[in-house]
């Protein structure tokens, strides 16, 4: 075991898969010599060669669309979108083709590829560098969408994503890229896509979150614990498919649910989770299923970001309000 942060765990997973499978290819803007603007692909070109880890022209539709071409030809491309906000030029390729090629051809052509996207706010960045686009992808049939929140999960889920026979959007919570360190096995392991994880069992309320919000919820839970509240925390990990079983079981037990997501509220990811709660545990509800989300605004530039990002204190406030409801 080696202590790694999220970036290192992802690099390690890429390295391992590049080593194991000659058909794995890694490309995108600045992922080669530079090793990516977040250094996720650092060292990989040197080790695996510039024919396997390389820079592409600056064109996201081209990056995504060529990856589809490679995937149907037998390669397993793992591409990087440099930031969340720069996946939008690739939307047509993702929504119209990557997600649909298998279905369109009745399984003749399949698209085993991974789109890595550093995502989310809280890093004092320029506009378009702090987006949470998971709902767009979650609403797109034919994709799988996953988000790790720990180094251990990051490596295991990345390996699962690369081995998946279908396209996976792999969202990396850049805010905690280097914030969390953890022991990560050096060997290969994978974490099944579609399974949430109960990070903390509890009795009075279920909090559902993922990505960088997990850490904020955990801070709020420290406060809650001090007050004697028993909070169950679910790390969703997979946006689609979503793990109804874990949600159902938890909410049927606690009767209360708070969903915390950074993405904009309206038609956002939290709404789906709340609908599922309604479908699965309506009769057990003792308080309205509640969401704490980003606003229906552009994420403000750094000086205004504090108003947008959800603080542990605000989470704690909602936990308490719901428990007392």
């Amino acid at each position: 075991m080696k202590v790694m942060n999220l970036v290192q765990a992802i690099t390690d997973g890429l390295d391992l898969m590049l080593t194991e499978d000659k058909n794995v290819i890694v490309y995108g803007e600045d992922v080669g010599v530079e090793g990516g603007v977040f250094r996720v692909t650092e060292g990989l070109q040197l080790k695996h060669g510039a024919d396997r880890v390389f820079d592409s022209p600056l064109a996201e539709s081209g990056i995504a669309g060529t990856a589809l071409g490679m995937a149907i030809s037998g390669l397993k491309p793992v591409i990087e979108m440099q930031f969340d906000g720069f996946v939008y030029p690739a939307m047509n390729q993702i929504l119209s083709h990557i997600s649909r090629f298998r279905n369109r051809t009745r399984g003749k052509f399949t698209v085993p590829m991974v789109i890595r996207i550093p995502y989310g706010g809280g890093i004092n960045a320029l506009e378009h560098h702090s987006e949470s686009p998971e709902a767009y992808f979650g609403h797109t049939p034919g994709l799988k969408v996953v988000i790790p929140s720990t180094p251990y999960d990051a490596k295991g889920m990345l390996i699962a994503a690369i081995e998946d026979p279908d396209p996976v959007i792999f969202l990396e919570p850049k805010r905690i890229y280097r914030a969390i360190k953890q022991e990560v096995p050096e060997e290969k392991y994978s974490i099944p896509i579609g399974k949430a994880k109960v990070l903390n069992p509890g009795e009075q309320i279920t909090v559902i979150a993922y990505g960088a919000m997990i850490r904020e919820v955990q801070k709020a839970m420290v406060m809650a614990k001090e007050k004697g509240y028993s909070v169950e925390l679910i790390d969703l990990r997979s946006i689609w498919p979503i793990d109804r079983d874990t949600i159902r079981e938890s909410v049927r037990k606690t009767g209360r649910v708070l969903v915390v997501t950074e993405a904009a509220q309206s038609f956002g990811p939290a709404a789906e989770i709340i609908s599922i709660v309604n479908e699965e545990a309506f009769l057990n509800l003792e308080a309205p299923p509640t969401r704490l989300t980003g606003f229906d605004t552009v994420i403000p530039l750094p000086l205004g970001e504090k108003y947008y990002m959800i603080s542990p204190q605000r989470i704690y406030g909602e936990i308490e309000r719901l428990i007392k409801y």
Partner: protein, 367 residues
């Protein structure tokens, strides 16, 4: 034969067009030699007639309400047949949607084509066709796939070219640009074929671009290119064959502008009289590719036009029976909606499918 020297003579920037025969099928090039045996040539002409007959039949099936929208190929067949003769089994075919004759050559069955346009995804399975991609509806988006395939062929050290088709309208999309650029930078062996049929639905070429022609766009990517008379079977065949060799040998893409005319409607829901004149249509009818090749063959005594009617009749029979096979295709099942979305049906989709099946069973299978 079209070769590197010819390429140099027909520079798109000088707005030259490569042409072998005139509008009447008379060879206009000096010292020209027929690029294939008489037998193969007659074969090609039969293929052309077969495409044209299929097309007519398809339009009439659609009129009878037995098929949904269908995009006719009339007038553009020489391009398709030439491509079909050149493309090898190991080559990739990345279609737009108006290349019927080439699909057939690639091994797509008529039954599947009809099934697709009747509205069943089973018709996109292209079971017998190797490396044949499905119809790409979002204009020009397929071109980047070809660039990726080209990369993969290099990477896998396979000696296979890709043929990617797009229309004149499609050259305006950003993906056209990105595809040619990626293919060029990555040394991808891709032949890009622009079927310039003068219109994108109702929009004439002059509202699409100001460039002197479409092949010249290759300059922006250092992709060699040429304008070809798309209604001239020989010109098309020679250039296609040249392009295939070129991309494989040089490891770089090639761009063909095949200048032609869509003589029919855009699709069966379109009415071209709204946006073009009968003079223009007649002008292009005079350049019809079937007429030109037929004239050539008749002149060379390779073809008896009187035999054509009989041949077409036999085609019709075959086409009809394929259409009937498509009509006999097993009914669309609920599973067909769900089961191909992922390799393994995810729980969430299984749940949704069960809900639907339960509902259908309560109402007796029908909605």
């Amino acid at each position: 034969m079209f070769d590197l020297k010819t390429l140099d003579k027909y520079k798109p920037i000088d707005n030259k067009m490569y042409q072998v025969m005139d509008d009447e099928g008379k060879v206009i090039l000096k010292n020209w030699q027929q690029p294939m045996s008489d037998e193969d040539l007659v074969d090609a002409f039969k293929d052309l007639l077969f495409e044209r007959t299929t097309d007519q039949m398809a339009v009439s099936y659609q009129r009878q309400g037995r098929m949904f929208t269908y995009p006719p190929n009339l007038g553009q067949e020489a391009i398709h047949i030439a491509a079909g003769k050149v493309i090898k089994n190991e080559d990739w075919f990345v279609p737009a949607f108006r290349e019927l004759g080439a699909w057939l050559a690639k091994g797509v069955s008529l039954r599947e084509i009809f099934l697709y346009f009747k509205g069943n995804e089973d018709g996109s399975r292209f079971e017998q066709a190797n490396r044949m991609l499905p119809v790409s509806v979002p204009i020009a988006s397929q071109l980047v796939h070809a660039a990726g395939i080209g990369f993969a062929m290099n990477y896998l050290k396979e000696e296979a070219a890709s043929f990617a088709f797009v229309g004149d309208g499609g050259t305006s999309e950003g993906d056209f640009h990105e595809a040619l650029n990626f293919a060029a930078v990555w040394n991808a062996p891709v032949v890009f074929v622009v079927q310039n049929n003068q219109f994108a639905i109702s929009v004439p070429l002059k509202m699409q671009t100001r460039s002197i022609n479409l092949a010249v766009k290759g300059v922006a990517y250092d992709v060699p290119s040429v304008v070809v008379d798309g209604n001239d079977f020989f010109a098309m065949y020679e250039v296609m064959a040249f392009a295939r060799e070129f991309v494989l040998k040089e490891k770089r893409p090639f761009l063909i502008e095949a200048r032609t005319y869509r003589r029919g409607a855009h699709t069966t829901s379109d009415d071209p009289t709204r946006y073009r004149t009968s003079e223009e249509e007649e002008m292009w009818a005079a350049k019809d590719p079937a007429k030109r090749l037929r004239n050539y063959l008749v002149e060379k005594k390779l073809w008896n036009p009187e035999s054509e009617e009989e041949l077409v009749k036999s085609f019709k029979k075959k086409i009809d029976s394929e259409f009937e096979a498509a009509e006999q295709h097993p009914e669309y099942r609920v599973d067909d909606v769900f089961d191909y979305m992922y390799e393994k049906l995810p729980d969430e989709l299984a749940r949704q499918k069960n809900m639907l099946k339960n509902y259908l069973s309560t109402v007796g299978g029908d909605k």
